[in-house]
Amino acid sequence: MIDFIFEPLQYSFIQRALFASILVGLACAVLGIYVVLRKMAFIGHALSHSALPGLVIAYLCGYNLFGGAIVATVLTALGIGLIVKNESVYEDTAIGIVPIFMFAFGILLISTTKSYRDLSAMLFGNILGVGISDMIWISLLTLFVIGTLFLFHKEFELFSVDPYYAKAIGINLNLMRYGLLFLLALTVVTGIQAVGTILTNALLIVPVASARLLTNRLRTMMILAAVIAVSSGIVGIYISYYFNVSSGAAIVLMTTIWFVGIWLLKTFKNK
């Protein structure tokens, strides 16, 4: 049994994967609180899909993949913000259009290279392939996201509970809105390394949704969501190692198992 746990740890790629999964889990859980409570799930979905062309262009030109993904997601976030500000298009329509364009554009680009193996890593993630420079990027992004949320917690909270009052005391609502989208874009980029563009949104939503079934308190919810996300990452990596299956899929499936388990527990307890 002990060997079962320690055997994979001798490999540095497993160590790096675990390190990355812990950080990604933390960032997604903390920011996911706002994504779920502010009903931004659809935007998270959009941003993660939009990273694809950035990843592909960076890959083709030999640039840093993180840089490419950040540029693409941040541009998408700003694009959605601009279209919505115009008020002639509904927000959900804008969020529906922009990422589909970006995703299709990304597929089109990668089809020129015929390298579908790399495409699959972009779509479904490859946490077992995390290198040293990836670790540094993930650490910096996670630190930035959590640090920013910590520093501006009271403003983000008030902006979410009572935007009118927030505006009446001089807080710029657009600054808060774009700030949150920017953090979301960065978090999505860390998640892509772990579970890929298609599944990243699950890491933002499912741990928080599960935690929300258990508690009404913001702090407890954040801690529970982090525990669920991080444990799913770790267990997912072990499953991937032992059964030779996709790490991204295993991680996301673990989060949904948490969700279904908690939901069943709650439903039957209430009966």
Binding site: L37, K154, L158, D162, T215, R217
Partner: protein
Amino acid sequence: MIGRLHVPYSGCRHGNPDTLAPALEIKNLSAGYSGEQRLALKKINLSVPVGARVAIVGPNGSGKSTLLKSVAGLLPIRNGKIKIYGEAVGACFHRTVYLPQRSEVQWSFPIDVRKLVLSGRYVHLGWFHRAAKEDYQKVDVALNQLGIKSIGQRQISQLSGGQQQRVLLARALVQDADLLLLDEPLNAIDADTREIVSKVLKDLKDKGKTVIVATHFLDKMAQDYDGAFYLNEGEEAAIPPGGFSGIKLR
């Protein structure tokens, strides 16, 4: 605060109020919501002296909320002027407090009553600062005053309509503002809460605060207010026959 960097939300320093100016002076004000051609307020003139309690009365959609929102700086002004203690809107955020309608607050957000009331201190704290002991003390005083001390730890998602209204009023008091803009604080409240609101209005007057209340309740007008301003379809309306008028507001 001495020695600590203070970064106000609005980015600008608070102006020096004109001590001789009325609490609120509105001249020829027209306002509307963004994206709409229609004016929600047309050519409003209103002057509220320091220390007065004024009711803004009118049916739903008459522009009561729009008027308060314009004064709170939540809506762009299309035309005319608003002066608060002689200063432009936004020059003195901490001296004006806006109490939104209950329906404009996200009550499902997972925070407790104390935390929501505490947000009334944020305008004094600005960016980066955390609430200190005296901020929490002010919260406790306000919770006591409104008789909701016992539900301080309760999640805001579990409040009745009357409790929600008391919580919002507590937050408005915690801000220690001089001009209070209360949007429908009497909506969906029970008799006990009504009683408490009356007491709070009286107490605010004793402290020399100026209070403007948007309402469509016409009971206890003479008891709770010093003056009334009637609105209909965005324009000033005449005092209805037998209606309360009180002090002059021009």
